[in-house]
């Protein structure tokens, strides 16, 4: 569910097909920089109704999914 939410958000924001976004995609390759990331995480919070305090360095979609599922 977390993955689908992230996938949908990125597909919408970056105007790309959801299938192009996988657990292995890096945010860098998707064209998402650290400021975009802050914005995206805030939208994710609303979407998932969770508080997400990013502390670790997160580089891939899979890492973000894991972080949210385990720590938030």
């Amino acid at each position: 569910m977390v993955f689908e939410a992230i996938q949908e958000l990125i597909a919408d924001k970056m105007e790309m097909d959801a299938e192009e976004i996988t657990m292995d995609s890096t945010f860098k390759d998707l064209g998402i920089d650290s400021l975009d990331m802050v914005e995206m995480v805030m939208e994710l919070e609303d979407k998932l109704d969770k508080e997400i305090e990013l502390a670790d360095k997160i580089e891939t979609v899979g890492e973000l999914v894991k972080y949210i599922e385990e720590k938030c």
Binding site: D33, S34, L35, V38, E39, M42, E53, L54, A55
Partner: protein
């Protein structure tokens, strides 16, 4: 007299911050600005904690008034600098290039007020949650590391998004800029470039002369390719660097070319190797004067412009 929430929050006479310019904003400059009624800020930059502690002590030997320290969160010494700030109970910490979440507990306990520099609305909202007491919204007109949005576009959007007082930075060098920033919703301004010409600013004489000679189009942004764009004066060094960004030179080599460039400008005034950071307002600088005079002049001008603004309303 101009009075905003910033005056009250910090107990200062003028709601004007002096930007935390790496290698430049030392204890002496910060103390002179604070002594003059504004908020002086010591830049930690990439310097180790011992340097920062020394500068804090120098500032305290010159003034009893509050001043701040700017922490560059990407610095390898960020952890130890953050600790020194708490130990020394510095009045204000301004932060850039990241999220200071992990230091907040120690700073709050020491009574340090955290005022981050933000360049986007999302970052502004995040910083409110982390515990900021005010925000510095910095537009891309500024010198040094720059964001994407201009001050004109950024400040009102940040003011709409948060309830905290906002300090506008980037493109402000005189009372007109300050008055304009207030119209955008800001309750204070931060100036960096203007304070480069303060008598108490100890940059190399060549740096000051270049600023005095600068024209409107004389600043350039380099480093976009590496993801950390920086604005400075056009020099043989920055022109060459800008060209290299479009060649097939590796990112590592490009990064290496930039190392030590700011230091070469500040300490040696070397235009062949140096990067003289400055904002778009560089061309507006016309004289060297004491920091206290800059503060008084800018605030008195702003006050007049704000009063005069009513003349357009019929």
């Amino acid at each position: 007299m101009i009075r905003t929430r910033i005056n009250e929050l910090l107990g200062i006479e003028y709601p004007v911050f002096q930007g935390g310019m790496a290698w430049i904003a030392d204890g002496k400059l910060a103390a002179s600005v604070s002594e003059g009624g504004g908020l002086g800020i010591i830049a930690a930059g990439n310097a180790p904690a011992d340097y920062v502690r020394e500068q804090i002590r120098i500032a305290r030997s010159i003034t009893d008034k509050p001043f701040g320290v700017n922490v560059m969160l990407m610095s390898p010494f960020a952890d130890e600098v953050a600790k020194v700030i708490a130990e020394e109970k510095v009045a204000v910490v301004t932060t850039g290039a990241g999220n200071p979440l992990k230091y907040m507990k120690a700073w709050k306990a020491a009574g340090v007020k955290m005022i981050p520099v933000v360049a986007s609305v999302a970052m502004a909202k995040l910083m409110v949650r982390v515990g900021a007491e005010a925000l510095i919204a910095e537009g891309t007109e500024s010198g040094g590391h720059v964001g994407e949005l201009t001050t004109m576009a950024l400040v009102p959007q940040v003011c709409d998004a948060v309830d905290l007082p906002v300090i506008a930075a980037g493109g402000v060098a005189d009372g007109r800029g300050m008055a304009a920033a207030f119209m955008l919703g800001a309750e204070g301004v931060q100036m960096g470039t203007r304070f480069l010409l303060a008598d108490e600013c100890s940059i190399h004489e060549n740096y000051k002369q270049r600023l005095l000679k600068a024209k409107d189009l004389d600043t350039i942004v380099t480093g976009r390719r590496l993801g950390h764009p920086v604005r400075g004066l056009k020099t043989p060094f920055t022109r060459e660097y800008a060209k290299l960004e479009y060649t097939d030179i590796s990112d590592e080599e490009l990064e290496k070319k930039g190392e030590g460039a700011l230091r070469a400008a500040v300490q040696d005034g070397d235009a062949e190797k140096g990067s003289f950071l400055a904002g778009q307002v560089a061309a507006m600088l016309s004289k060297e004067q004491p920091a206290a005079e800059i503060l008084k002049e800018v605030c008195e001008e702003a006050e007049n412009y704000l009063k005069e603004g009513a003349k357009w309303v019929k």
